[in-house]
Structure formats: structure tokens, C-alpha cells
Symmetry: C3
């Protein structure tokens, strides 16, 4: 596929500086881009590379004139890059049908134009939507449904009764609907609380490799529309994650916690159970959330503080030994002064 | 199934306030419970909801009279809830036999009334106990044994020579018996130490999705009776976890560490290698255990402190910038006083 | 297999004290070793056990005479142990051929003497090297290659276009080449950045169970020769890990970070995106790396400090409440002194 630069400008809502008729047939990183390709500069500090790249055009955030290259100027170069890369990389879906080595319950209902690879298992009464792709080793337990155009990569396990929305992407090794971790002690013995609830994954969710989403004890664990979850994340029973939230790798969210919409939890964050996190909250990497977090703020640390307070305290932390030494010296000096004053007092 | 409230009271050792003949056919959360269902109130703060629920009876911790609803009063409402939910949710096991698409070594020995789904692999000389269920994609390596009534969910991998006890539940993606992580540097090159030991999982253990339990270098990695492990936990070679311990999601336990019985490690805890943790210890979320922990205590922090000390120090942490400022001011005031005294001294 | 002690000494470059003709047929831990076996003492504190073991010989780090046992004296007992254990445990590779229940694209090219178990999937145009072993449930996506003598354990998923080197070991549940986690916000909506790059795993790499290595956005994610990665590790898009580095369990490495050669990241370390870590760096467990780390040093903490500074500050941390109390007392004493001086001043 080839597109003229002015066509790309129209696609992403940008303006062209230089030759807007130049033909583009692909996207590449600035160091390796070749003639015919477009590249991008997200940060002004890389602007000097403009003169070095072999790319035929460059996406930038501001008009820079004169420029050695045709420029595509946009508000958000990274967003324009994503859209243009999508344009050039998206292949039309081609259904491959149902491999005879898949195992499909006779009571399952299958949509149109689906792709089911070998060694897939589909349980009783499942519903598989149109244009769904199930890769080898995918297990879909009974009474589950998979919405239109969703893709389940190899070795994904869907426990019974799960609802997966449309255009959902589940990467390899994702486990949806395993029992929540619930026990009550009777003496020292752990008595299992049956996990009778479900998991519901709404439309346009993407979940990374080997992430686990547990079923609710009663009721539902819910991943709302547009949520993106990275690899190796743990989502416990009865958690709700609000729309468009971003959950980075290795985050753990404990039972019954409610996360607002448009929240970002950075890598390795831990959130305790029964917490509420407000909309638009950002939590820094490795933070430990032990209490509710108000909306529209950033937090960091374990336990979490408002991000600015965390940064200030963290900066002082390495000075602790020196501060302790100072304290000891001050006490000596104080004692000396007090003795001086006291002896003066006596003298009087 | 229907049970009269007095029958449930007998089951859980509780007393009834109100109509003990009311018929119960299910369990639900307090907000959604309908007539015919029982619900529970674990915390006194939810008692006001007693008047709002449609449930036909409520499990509570104390006798509250008069009550708008029949009450089932018990010492531990959560435990009673678990037992009653188990009663209503447990379906009798129905063996489904061996699917012809499973691959089973002719030298494997299989028990009675088993359920083996398609795409299961069972290696040479394995022993599969009575009423075991192996879901699609389960791999059981040669010379392994799976005890009676155990359930291995889809895509569980059991490496050769593993012993799994009775009534064990392994959720999807669990890996048991992969090589421990052992290398010796020869110069910069990493020389692999062959991992020749095994893993033994005793009776009544449950292990969460995508958790990994490594085989020992020599000897055994042992998960003792009744241990419950959550999702995405790492248990390294030669670790021993004592009876009835609870290991929450994303915990990592390094090589040769011994964990006592009835221990709780909260989410994302890390434990260094060659550590001993005593019986009945509780370790708070995200803690880092770098030395032995004495029995019967709570610990938190990274590195861990006794829990109370941790809380105290943590409370002061955000005040560090203010403390530093105070220190600097104090030094100024001290200097001023010292100069005053010194000049007075000179004056004299 | 039996070897005389002098033969083992020649293998590992050591010297024998005592009978160098004694025959050894295996290796065991010091407590359980029997006659005919060799054991080892890595730390001098275990030397008293020399007199108690039933082993026929002991690997030690220094010559100890007289000794009740034949000794094999070497510079690095642990390395000698690894080599001798390898000698006794290594079984010659026996190809098992291609199981008829594997699904192999007609356009895939297969090497000599391979072992392909049931329920393996190999996509179009893949190349599988000589003596490769693919266990049940392994998926190799189209256009991937697996080098000679590599072993992929059950349920490993290799996404399309991945390059795996020679003698690579991938443990169960490893996912290589899933999409990197890349989105751009358009308003609150997350726009996916297509992940068009690849993953390249060089020779002699070992990757632990359920670890995930994401494909690059553009270009390559690269795991260099001899790298050893433990279980449940997350390696994001465009990361490069240098030769012979050791990445311990549950580490997370964010996008585009470059890690030098011979680096060690201990368990649960988190590394932010676009970081550079120099050669020979060691990072302590649970550390959070938020900025570049210079070569040849140790670091700990979150955020990381040079290891010694971290230890010093950490030692003071539990004393924070006491320091705060002291500060308050000092302020009172200061105030009193200032008042005294001020009143004296007035008196004058």
C-alpha cells in the first residue's frame, strides 16, 4: 500500500511542510527508516536527527522550517504514528474455518467466518461470535461467550460461565475465571469458600500474556470497556476496573477493590482489598495502595503518598544517616550549653 | 436443594432467632439476595442493611432482637457462610471417562471413575488416582503421580517425577517441577547446575493460576498438607512450605527457604534464599524478608521489621522533609546561642 | 556410570587428599549421601559435617588434613559440584520423532533427529533445527525458527516471526513475542500502537516458567547469548539484555530499557522504561530502578541508591520515631535556653 503524505495528513488531522505529494509505503524507527518510509520524532531533543534519517517524511510536533525533509506536523506525534502504523500494518481478516483437530461441544453455537485452530476446546452451550479467532490450546469452558472479532492467543484458559466482549484480545497464557482466593480459618485449617461468581470482560479490552483474572465469590469480577492490562497482572475476585484504565505489568489488585475509569497503575503496584481508587488517578511503579485514593491525583510509595510528598520524602531518605549524626551532635552541644548556663546560674 | 434454617443451624453449630422452619435454597450477597436465599453480615457496620435485604434469612455474629428477618447466629459468620455455600454449590462428581483425543502412555496406570479431557498428555509410568479430573492441555510428565480426587485445570504442566497428593486443586497454567534457577559463574559464563530433585505436593493443597513451583536441585521442594497458594506465585527450588500456610498472589520465595506452618505471606512479599520463617508468622504485603523471622509475630516492610515498629517508622516517613528543615533551623539557633555565650564569655 | 576420584579431579582441575582411586557413581547432599556418592561443602561452617556424612568423598575449597574422608580440593566447590553433577546426570539425547497428533504446516522445514510430542503446532514457513524437542502444547507461530538442540517445555507459546537460538531452554508457559504494551491516549480512549517488531533469543539462553518476553514495537527485543531468566519475569518491548546476565524471578523490565552484560537483577526488581544499566551491575531484591545505573557497581532500594548508602539509610529507618521525638525535645530545650538568655539579656 502507498499513500501520499497529504493523505496521511488528512487521516491524522495534521499539516504538511514541504512536498505533500511524496509517497509513503511504511513506517520505521528514525535510525533504520529508508526511502519511502515515514518516521516520527516524539521529543524535541531528537530534532537534530532530522538531518540524518533516510526516511522520506517525518512526523513532528511543531512546524520546523526550513527542514531537509517533508514534515507532517501534528498535535500528538505519537498518536499520529500509531494511526499511520495501524494503516500500514493492518491486514484484512481472513477466516480459516474450523480445524478438525479442535474439540467442540455439539451444543456450542458458532458465529460466521470464525477461525478455530487445532487443539482448541469449546465446552457445552458456549457462544462464539462472528470472526472470532481461537489459537491452538485455547480452552473455553461451558456456558461462556466470546464476542465478535475477539482473538484468543495460544493456551488461553477461559473457565466456565465467562463473558468476553467484542474485539477483545487475550494474549497467550491468560487465565480468566479461576477461583478467587478465599478461605476461612477453622482453627488452623483453611476452609475453602466456593467461588460461585463470574468474570465479565467488556468490549475493546486487551489483556497481556499470563495475566490472571479470578471469578467472583458471588456476583462478578468486571473489566470494563477499553481497559488495557499488561502481562503477569493479578486481578482478584470481585474487582471492578473502570473504563479505559491502564494496568501495567505485574500489578496485583486484591479482592473487591474498585478502580475508577481512566486510571493508570504503573508496573508492580500492589492494591489491597476493598479499596476504592477514584477516576483519573495515576499510581507510580511499585507503590502499595493500602487505603482509598481520591480522584484526579498522582500517588507513589508504599504506603502511597501524594506523588509530590513522596518525591520530597524520598529525596531526604538517603540523608538519614547524616541527619542522625547531626542529631547526636546537636544533643551534645545542647548539653554543653545547658551545663554552661546551669553553672553560670550557680555562680550567681 | 432446600434446607430448613434449623438444619443449616445444626450444620454450622449456630442458633436461630425467629422462624427456624423457613426454607432456604441458595446463598447470595446481601444486595442481590432474593426470597428463599440466605445471606450474611460479617461486620457489624453492615447491620443496618438487615432491614433492606430480600433474603429469607441472614447469618450474623450476634443475636439481634427484634429482627425483621430470621437470623442464624454463629461465632464466625464468614465460616458459616463458607459451609452453607459449599452445601448449596457442591455438585456430585460425575466421571466423564477418557477422551479418545488424550494421549496416554501405555505404561501409565489409571484409577477408577476418572475424567480425562482431550489434548491431555500422560507420560510413561504415571499413576492417576481415582476420580481425578485432567482438563484439556494438561501435561503430566513421566513417573509422576496424581492423588485421588485431584483436579488439574486446563494447561497445567507437571514435569517428570512429581508427586501430587489427594484432593489437590491446580488452576490453569500452574507449572510444577520446572528446573530450579541454579548457575555458577565460571568467569562470566553461567554454568547450569542440573536440577535433579523433585516436587512433592501433599494432600488438600490448592495452587492458583500461573503459579510456578520449581523442582529441587537435589532432594525435594515440598508443599505441605493444606497449604493454599494464590496466583502468579514463585516457589523456588528446595523450598518447604509448612501445613495450612497461606501464600497470597505474586509472592516470591527464593531457594532453600523453609516456611513454618500456619504462616500468611500477603501479596507481593519477597523472601530471600536460605531463610527460616517460624510458625504462625504473618508478613504484610510487599514486604522483603531478608533474615529469619521468629514464630508467632507479624512483620512488615522491606527489609522487614516487627509490624508495629514498621507502622511507627512509616508514619514518620512523610515528615522527613519537615524534620530536615527543623534540623537546619535548630543548628542555626544553636550556633547563635553558642556565639552569644561565647561573646558573653569574652565580655567577662 | 562410575568414575575414580582422580578422574573427577582431572575434570574439574582439583587435587585429591586421601584415596584417589575411590569409585564414585553419583552426587548427593551431605545429609543423605551414601557410600559411592560424592558430596560437597561450599562453606567452611559446614566442615564439621565432614565426619558425619556417609559419602565416599567430599568436594571442599581447601586442603584439610588429616580428613576422615577422601577430599577433592578445588578453588570453587560449587562449580566443581555443578560439573560433576552434570557428568553423572546427563543422559544422551534420544530423538522420539514426530507424533502423528502434532499439527505441522506443510511449509515448515524440520531438522534431523527431532522430537515433537502430541498437540504441538508449527506454523507456516517455520524452521526447526536438528535435535530440537517440542513438548505437548507448544505453539510455534509462522515464520519462526528454533535453533539446534533447543528444548521447549509444555505449553510454551512462540508468536510469529520469533528467532530462538541454539541450545535454548524455554520452560513451561513461557510466552515469547506477545504484543508490547503500547497505547496512546486520544482523549481518554487508548489507541493501540501496532507491535510490528520481533523477538530474538540468542544461543544458550534459559528462560523460566511463565516468563513473558514481548515483541518490539518496531525493531527487536533481544535476549543475548548466555542470559538466564528465572520464572514469572516480564521483559517489555524493545528491551535488550546483554550477554550472561542473570534475571531472577518476578523481575519486570519496562520498554526500551538496555541492560548490560553480566548484570544481575535480584528477585522482584522493577526497571523503568528507557533506562540503561551498565555491565556487571548488581541490583538487590525488590529494588526500583528509575534512572541509569553506572557499570561495575551494586545498587539497592526503591528508588535505587548505591548499595552501601542504601544499607546505611535503611538501618536508620526504624529509628525515625525516636529521632522525631528527640527533635521535639531538642526544640523545647532550645526554646528554654533562648528564653533564659533573653530574660538574662533583659535583666542586664
Amino acid at each position: 500500500m502507498k499513500k501520499r503524505l497529504k493523505e496521511l495528513a488528512a487521516l491524522v488531522g495534521g499539516t504538511v511542510v514541504g512536498d505533500d505529494e511524496v509517497e509513503i509505503s511504511g513506517v520505521a524507527a528514525i535510525e533504520v527508516a529508508q526511502a519511502g518510509e515515514i518516521t516520527f520524532i516524539a521529543s524535541p531533543k531528537y530534532l537534530p536527527k532530522l538531518g540524518e534519517t533516510n526516511a522520506s517524511a517525518v512526523i513532528v510536533s511543531k512546524e520546523i522550517t526550513p527542514s531537509p525533509k517533508p514534515l507532517l506536523c501534528v498535535n500528538n506525534p505519537y498518536l499520529a504514528f500509531a494511526k499511520i502504523l495501524t494503516l500500514f500494518s493492518q491486514k484484512p481478516y481472513q477466516p480459516k474455518g474450523i480445524d478438525p483437530n479442535a474439540w467442540i461441544s455439539p451444543t456450542a453455537r458458532l458465529g460466521q467466518e470464525i477461525t478455530i485452530y487445532p487443539f482448541v476446546s469449546i465446552g457445552d452451550r458456549c457462544w462464539i461470535g462472528d470472526r472470532v479467532t481461537l489459537y491452538p490450546g485455547v480452552f473455553v469452558g461451558e456456558d461462556s461467550s466470546i464476542g465478535e472479532e475477539s482473538v484468543l492467543y495460544p493456551n488461553v484458559s477461559i473457565y466456565p460461565g465467562t463473558v468476553v466482549g467484542k474485539r477483545v484480545i487475550l494474549h497467550s497464557g491468560v487465565v480468566v475465571g479461576a477461583d478467587g482466593f478465599g478461605y476461612v480459618k477453622e482453627g488452623k485449617k483453611n476452609v475453602k469458600i466456593p467461588q460461585m461468581g463470574k468474570v465479565e470482560i467488556e468490549d475493546d479490552v486487551e489483556i497481556g500474556a499470563n495475566t490472571t483474572i479470578d471469578r467472583a465469590t458471588l456476583g462478578k469480577t468486571i473489566i470494563r470497556r477499553g481497559v488495557k492490562i499488561d502481562n503477569l497482572v493479578q486481578v482478584a475476585h470481585n474487582v471492578v476496573i473502570g473504563e479505559d484504565s491502564i494496568i501495567v505489568a505485574q500489578v496485583g489488585i486484591a479482592g473487591s477493590t474498585k478502580i475508577g475509569s481512566n486510571v493508570t497503575l504503573a508496573g508492580q503496584v500492589g492494591v489491597a482489598d476493598h479499596i476504592e481508587i477514584g477516576n483519573n488517578v495515576m499510581v507510580g511503579g511499585q507503590s502499595g495502595v493500602g487505603h482509598d485514593l481520591a480522584a484526579n491525583q498522582g500517588y507513589s510509595g508504599s504506603p502511597t503518598l501524594p506523588h509530590r510528598n513522596y518525591l520530597r520524602a524520598t529525596t531526604v531518605f538517603p540523608k538519614l544517616p547524616e541527619m542522625r549524626k547531626t542529631l547526636i551532635e546537636i544533643e551534645k552541644r545542647l548539653k554543653k550549653i545547658e551545663e554552661t548556663l546551669s553553672s553560670e546560674g550557680k555562680e550567681k
